[in-house]
Structure formats: C-alpha cells, structure tokens
C-alpha cells in the first residue's frame, strides 16, 4: 500500500503527464523545430558559412567545450568587481615536456563555473568575476590536465571559493563512488585541498596572498603525478608573488565588455535578465575552418553576454562582440578557407554543432541544429562584428534578431556619420 508521499507523487505524476501529454511520432519529433529539420537546408552552400562559422565559433569555443564556463548561469555579473589575474606566462608550471602537451592557453573571465560533482551538474561561483588563466594539456592516452590560475583578495577568500570544488562534503556518502581526500605535502606557505575520484582528481593550491592554482587531472591521478603538480603549482605561485605585473593587458576586453554589458538590444526593459558576462582572450588558438582547414589566430578576444527570461524556459540570448583585430583575423581566415570549404553548407563549430548560413540583406543569419540562430554583422570597416545567438521559440528568435539587426543598422549609420 503506498504511503501518503507516494500517493502525492502519483498525483503529481498525473499532472506532469497531463501537461506534457502529446503523441510522439517520428513526424512530430522532427517537426518540432522546423527551421532545422529540412534536409534541403543542409544542401545550401555558402562561403558565408565560413565567415559566420568563425565568428560564431568564437562564441561557442569561448563558452562551451572543455572550458569551465557557464553562459547560462543565473548570477548577474555586470556590476561585479573584476579581479585581474597575475601576469601568468604560458605553461607557468613547466609541464610541457614532462610528457604533457600544451593544447590551450587562454585568459578568461567567468561569471560562474559549472562543474560535475556527485553525478550532477553543480553550479558554483568559485571563479565569479575573476580573470583566470587556463592551460590545458593532454598526456598519454586520454589523460588531460587543466591548470587554472587566478588571484583572490586573500588566502581565506581563495580557500572559501575553491574548497567546494575539491571538497566533497556536500556529496552524499553513497554517491562518492571512490572519492577520497588526499594528503599531499606542500610548502609551508601554501595550502592544498585535494580530492580524487577514480581516474581524476581536483587540487587547489593557495598561497598566503590569495594566489591560487586550481588543477583538474584526469586519468593520470597517481600520487606521484599529483605531488609533482602540487610542487609545480607552489613554485609557480612563489614566482608570481615576486614578479610585478603592472601592465594591464585587459583594457581592450573591458572596453568590449562595456559595449555588450550595456544591453545594446534593450532586452532588460522587456523583462530579460542578464545572466552572465564572459570575457575571453585567446593568446594562441588554432581554429578549424570549414572542416579540415585551420587557421592560427592570435590575440582573439570575445565578450559574451547572456540573457534569459524568468518565465520563459528555453529562451536564451547570447551576444558576442569581438574586437576589430579578431574580426579581421577571423574574416580573413574565412576568406582564405573559402575555396577548400566543401561543397556543403555543413560545418562543425564545436561539439558536433553543425550549422549553415544564409546571407540576408547584407547580414548573415546562421541557423544551427541546436535551435540556435545567429545574426552577424557583415564584414566591413564601419561595423564591429556582433553576434546575437538566440535559442528559444521561433517567435522569440525572430524578435531578438530583429532588434540586433536594428541595432547594427543604427550603429553602422552612426559610424558612417
């Protein structure tokens, strides 16, 4: 006999089923979002796809993939104090050559970080508002290592923010699945918080001044490797503490942030909320263009602002602004890659995201399979490229893209004047 809670749950289930009671057939399943279903669309070829792919790709790379970013977070980030990261060089821990291959070095700012813990996606604000430097490495097999370096106001703050990433005390015992707390030796002036699960480990190394190195190691988490990483991180923190970094290389990013952070499409007046603001600079980046072609881009910078509506689940807008140098490099790469672009409109942005592009009245509209459309300013000296990536219902998408179009038109006119 079910108890009261089970009866309540059955009633809840009836309601949930009633709300979503819709016959599922192959036809309805693929008709739900019509702009992404027609195979004919996938046959439309365009070199414009390359242009949009590069520009939009920055947005995806900046906010998706292996980077610990969370464009859909719910924390407002515009008015937060951004703390610059120390002037961290490439491969600050000196791991390249120790069997690790450096695959990415970037400088980013995160509103929040999404990380997996206890078999679920947990949203943590450990990196909220902080500029961080990320090095990613691969090793033998599927081993990977992500080194995130950042600076907090003091040690206590750093530990308070980073410990949840490595401390699993919030997890329930039955879900730990082999997590263990590690006791690693550290220098007297640094503090280490470290936990390990089968195949991966989290380590936070924090010095007295709030300097921190956050390491995530996958499939190489033997004690010797982890101890080596702690020592390298300790050394790097000491080196940073003695090195002055007066040069502020983030000014252009701040300028870009101001452009996007001011809600250029006027969404907030309509009830949208800014849910995230992320700044990314790629100091070195190999960017795939049209499938097999690649282009090395240096100094690329993107700013992405995300918006959502409190009542409209499934509605999400992301605005991405790139600086002029990035735009020129990206557009140049796209033009170079035009001829090797395959005779298909399909191209991969990231994580199996395939998209096509169609020129429309001087602007490029991108339609992707993730119910995503984007509007990109055309190449030209009078307009800074802006990408509005919108996901949601077709009506919402059209409305937001109309605004983006009007905004770009007005800006172009202003620049020409």
């Amino acid at each position: 006999m079910p108890d009261e809670l089970e009866r309540q749950l059955r009633a809840f289930g009836d309601t949930l089923a009633a709300e979503t009671d819709e016959p599922v057939s192959p036809e309805t399943a693929v008709r739900t979002h019509p702009h992404r279903r027609s195979p004919r669309r996938w046959a439309i070829v365009g070199a414009a796809a390359c242009v949009v792919a590069v520009l939009v790709g920055f947005a995806f790379v900046g906010t998706r993939g292996s980077a610990p970013s969370a464009p859909t977070s719910t924390s407002g980030a515009v008015d937060r104090v951004l703390v610059p990261a120390p002037d961290v060089p490439v491969d600050a821990l000196g791991l390249a050559g120790d069997g690790w291959t450096l695959t990415r070095h970037s400088r980013s700012r995160f509103a929040v970080i999404d990380e997996i813990g206890c078999d679920e996606m947990r949203e943590l604000d450990a990196l909220d508002g902080h500029e961080v430097v990320i090095d990613e490495y691969t090793g033998s097999g599927e081993a990977f290592l992500r080194v995130t370096q950042l600076q907090y106001a003091d040690r206590a703050t750093a530990l308070d923010r980073l410990t949840p990433l490595t401390d699993l005390r919030d997890c329930e015992a039955a879900n730990l699945d082999g997590y263990e707390q590690l006791d690693l030796d550290a220098s007297p002036d640094v503090e280490v918080s470290a936990h390990r699960q089968t195949g991966s480990a989290w380590l936070a190394v924090v010095d007295a001044d709030g300097g921190a190195v956050l390491l995530r190691v996958g499939n190489a988490a033997d004690d010797e490797t982890l101890q080596l990483l702690v020592e390298r991180a300790s050394t790097a923190l000491r080196r940073e503490a003695t090195a002055a970094s007066p040069e502020d290389s983030t000014t252009p990013l701040d300028d870009l942030a101001a452009l996007v952070g001011e809600d250029p499409l006027g969404l907030q007046a309509d009830g949208w909320e800014q849910t995230g603001l992320e700044l990314t600079r790629y100091e070195s980046m190999t960017w795939p263009v049209c499938g097999t072609a690649t282009e090395d881009l240096e100094g690329a910078a993107t700013v992405a602002a995300s918006y959502g509506t409190p009542s409209g689940a499934g509605v999400f807008v992301q605005l991405v602004r790139v600086d002029e140098a990035t735009a020129r490099a990206a557009l140049g790469a796209a033009l170079v890659a035009r001829s090797p672009c395959p005779s298909s409109s399909e191209f991969v942005l990231a994580d199996d995201v395939v998209a096509e592009a169609q020129p429309a009245e001087g602007r490029w509209t991108l339609r992707g399979p993730d119910l995503v459309r984007a509007l990109v300013a055309p190449p030209g000296d009078d307009v800074l490229p802006l990408v509005a990536i919108v996901s949601g219902t077709p009506d919402v998408i059209d409305g937001v893209l109309d605004r983006a179009d009007a905004f770009l038109s007005g800006e172009a006119a202003g620049r020409r004047r």
Partner: protein, 154 residues
C-alpha cells in the same frame, strides 16, 4: 535495449515518450520537452550512428541533458497545482522536488510519480539499478522530511 535493425520511426514510437518523460522529470515541462525534441531531432539526423548504439535512448537522454543545461531555468519550473481532472497534491511537493539533486529528482519522478520500473528508468538514465535505487531512497527521505510526511502515514 540493443537497437540492431531498429528504424528511427520504431525507436520514436517505442522510446520517444520515455525519453521525453525523463527529460521533463529533470527539467520541467517547457525545457524538458524542448530538450526531448532536440534530442530526437539529433537522433534523426545521426540515426545511422545513434541507432547502432547499444542504448540509443540513453545516449539521446544525455544529448537532451546537454541541450537543457544551456537553457535558463527559472525557479518554479515544475507544476505546483494539479491539472484539471487530476487528483490534488501538496503544493509544496514541487518546490521540494526541485530542491533535490537532478539524479534524485529524475529517479523519484520516473519511478514514483510516473510509475516506471527501476529497470526502465535505469536504462534510460544509463545508471545501475542499485545506484538509481539509492538516489530514489535518498530522495524519498528528503521529501518526507521536507513535507513532514512519515513513512507510517497511511
């Protein structure tokens, strides 16, 4: 659920409702249904590869999760009142469900609210039955505490 020689149409008819129910249980009616549609469309476009997998429904559930997690999810995404013709339920139940972890919420909704068997739910969620049972047991404990319902209340 080995899908050898299963066509996409057969898969949708057989597993489509289950996939949608699982994603709705996790993310609510709006985002969950959208995510299910996205997942099914992904399956349509990549059926040659997805259909050859041992558990296409499990794979597409993961695809739907990825889609849903990109969406803004407001507080209060589960129904708080019974639909017309349905038995009433405690208004605090939905907030209590939302406060659970995702595996706990999905598990308890699929099994206790929608009446799936543990095996059916575990298959779509791609977890062991024992793991799912643990999630559900902990979820029920939390719900009983939140709603002040004792197990002896019959």
């Amino acid at each position: 659920m080995v899908s050898t020689d299963v066509t996409y149409e057969e898969f949708v008819r057989r597993d489509g409702p289950r996939l949608r129910a699982a994603l709705v249980a996790a993310y609510g009616a709006d985002v969950g249904a959208d995510a299910a549609a996205e997942a099914m469309a992904y399956g349509f476009e990549h059926w040659e590869r997805v259909g050859a997998m041992a558990n296409p429904a499990g794979y597409l559930y993961r695809a739907g999760q990825s889609e849903a997690r990109r969406h803004f999810r407001p507080v209060g995404y589960l129904p708080v009142r019974a639909a017309h013709g349905c038995p009433d339920f405690e208004p605090e139940l939905a907030p209590a469900l939302e406060a659970l972890t995702e595996p706990q919420r999905v598990g308890v909704v699929l099994v206790h609210a929608l009446g799936w068997t543990l095996r059916e739910a575990a298959e779509v969620l791609e977890v062991d039955v024992s793991t799912l049972r643990t999630h559900i047991a902990r979820a029920m404990t939390k719900l009983r505490a939140a709603l002040e319902v004792t197990i002896d209340a019959r």
